[in-house]
């Protein structure tokens, strides 16, 4: 049985349904990231796990114990808030020790625990200060210290890095990952940043409008998205989603896309046997930018690489890579080429399409078909 289990969770605010039948399960020591656009219900879901919001129906189990009706303080969880929520009238040490004080831990023991946590997070020199005297990154550390000192069964993080500047965010992200690796405590982490989700998670749950879109490892979510929303949401630049048509082509099938002022582009699809059933139908063809490259940048181990000449509309050098924009099926399509490729806008250059990475969606239901 999983360590944290959420089954058929519904949450209504009056007549508005915010969470619609969420089912999740995380193993002990797992790092679950709840990701989705704002208003998708991910923070509400976290709050229901914390016990800060009641649930309408369903069940939440932590380590086999149903916690639906337990007070937040009795669920053996600790939470790091987006705003850090440090008590402004207390020093850093008092902030960290407050929970223990409430539980009646003796003073000497409290001080020892605070000192230990402060050492782990390198905030020992800040213990006597008030939150107002700390920088954003320091406040973040104190907020984490307050959670760590509790040594809970589950850590809950509510967008903890969204208030930091870009560089600090990356540093703290690494630090959180390192902490998780050394503590091996189960973590549930909410973010709207898909890169944070990819880097931190052992499992990702993608939510939209209160519905769980997909639940899986970062690798599954990235490479095998269950629907167009997940495909589009995860990854930067986003996956190319091109309206196309499936046609029988000799022994196999090919995907055909219209082009402005040129013949439709036909790409042979090798390994997708299921696609044969869709011959003659319209589909959404999905291919990530890194699967569209220059010829020598293509993955040589992939048997499904197909080359084709395409018209370049825009070239965006990004340092490590150069993004090249062409137009297929009426959509802008981004390819990722090596930065030393000399590509001129409005020229026609050969592109390599790695069709082994291709995914196909039904344009009506938006679900994955192959």
């Amino acid at each position: 049985m999983a360590f944290l289990e959420i089954s058929d969770l519904y949450k209504r605010f009056g007549s508005v349904e915010v969470l619609k039948g969420i089912n999740l399960a995380v193993e002990e020591g797992g790092f679950l990231v709840l990701v989705g656009p704002s208003g998708c219900g991910k923070s509400t879901l976290l709050n229901t796990i914390a016990g800060l919001e009641s649930i309408t129906s369903g069940e939440i189990r932590i380590n086999g114990r149903v916690v639906n009706n337990l007070h937040p303080s009795q669920r053996d969880i600790a939470m790091v808030f987006q705003s850090y929520a440090l008590y402004p009238n207390m020093t850093v040490a008092q902030n960290i020790a407050f929970g223990m004080e409430m539980r009646g831990v003796p003073k000497a023991e409290r001080e020892k625990a605070v000192a230990e946590v402060a050492k782990t997070l390198q905030i020992s020199h800040l213990l006597g200060r008030k939150p107002s005297q700390l920088s954003g990154g320091q406040r973040q550390r104190v907020a984490m210290g307050r959670a760590l000192v509790r040594n809970p069964q589950v850590f809950l993080f509510d967008e903890p890095l969204s208030n930091l500047d870009a560089k600090l965010r990356v540093d703290m992200r690494t630090e959180i990952k390192r902490l998780h690796q050394s503590m091996k405590t189960t973590i549930v982490y909410v973010t709207h940043d898909q890169i944070e989700a990819m880097t931190l998670a052992t499992q990702i749950a993608v939510l939209k409008d209160g519905v769980l879109q997909q639940f899986g490892t970062p690798h599954e979510i990235y490479n095998n998205p269950a629907n167009i929303f997940v495909a589009d949401f995860m990854g930067s630049p986003a996956m190319n989603l091109i309206p196309a048509r499936i046609e029988a082509n000799g022994g196999g099938v090919a995907v055909v896309m219209t082009r402005d002022g040129a013949e439709p582009l036909q790409l042979k699809v090798g390994s997708h046997s299921r696609l044969g059933a869709h011959a003659g139908r319209e589909v959404i063809f999905g291919l990530r930018p890194e699967a569209i490259t220059d010829l020598s940048g293509a993955d040589r181990t992939s048997p499904g690489v197909v080359n084709a000449e395409c018209h370049v509309e825009v070239v965006e050098p990004a340092g490590a890579d150069t993004y090249v924009v062409t137009r297929l099926g009426g959509r802008e399509v981004i390819g990722r080429m090596r930065s030393d490729m000399q590509v001129a806008p409005h020229s026609t250059v050969p592109f390599a399409f790695n069709m082994d990475k291709a995914v196909f969606f039904d344009p009506e239901s938006e679900f994955r078909i192959a």
Binding site: F81, S83, A85, Y87, F98, G99
Partner: protein
Amino acid sequence: MAAATHGAVQETAVRTNVLARALIYAGLILFAGYYLLPLYVMLVNSVKPLDEIRQGDMMSLPMLFTLEPWRSAWATAQIGVQPTGLRPYFINSILMVVPAVAISTLLGALNGYVLTKWRFRGDGIVFGLLLFACFIPFQIVLIPMARLLGLAGLAGSTPGLVLVHVVYGLGFTTLFFRNYYDAFPTELIRAAQIDGAGFFRIFWRILLPSSGPIIVVTVIWQFTNIWNDFLFGVSFSDVDSQPVTVALNNLVSSSTGVKEYNVHFAGAILAALPTLIVYVVSGRYFVRGLMAGAVKG
């Protein structure tokens, strides 16, 4: 060359600045003087012998300085029928004001806390009704309040006056605290809940220590209003519980024989002194940015 030009420009700017500033200050001093004139008249006449006032010049400084009117107003002047001075009434006022301010402020803080952080069905209506209480004129509550005090057995007593002022002040104190706590980050309350603090613990340990500015505002407001109240004092008190405002009125209106203006002036200043002191002392605790650092600013 460039530096010289720069210097000249700056000098002109400074000069206009000085001129404008002088004008502003002159205007401000004029208004301040005008506003302080009554206080000046009261002060100088309260330290003159009565004869000097009778000569008719209210504005002049005292030729013969005396504190006798102050002593008289405080300890010996005729109030009603007793020659007690304002002292016992002053004490009555303190015995009324301190608990009334403390209780109404504390209850207002609790109301604000519940109305913002422990929302319940119909909390908006409750707040609306409390707000409505701010607009009820004193005169309307007189008769029902008299009946209530009679039933409670508190008529004509200091606790009765405390109750009246607490009830009447609750609308205001609730309004102040509700608006202040509305901006107080709810995540702090949630963090404290997860830490295991209960309803009152959160109030005492998290909310109240962060409420300095609004407590000062509320205390000043309540203290001034309750101390200066005359209508409730004159309606609901007996001789032994009359507040100083009522005594001052009796001092001024019921003197037999000669009108001792110097004593009246001294008494009026004495009666107004506590509110002045509250302003001066509490003003120092108006610390801004007390909340800075609680959440990302």
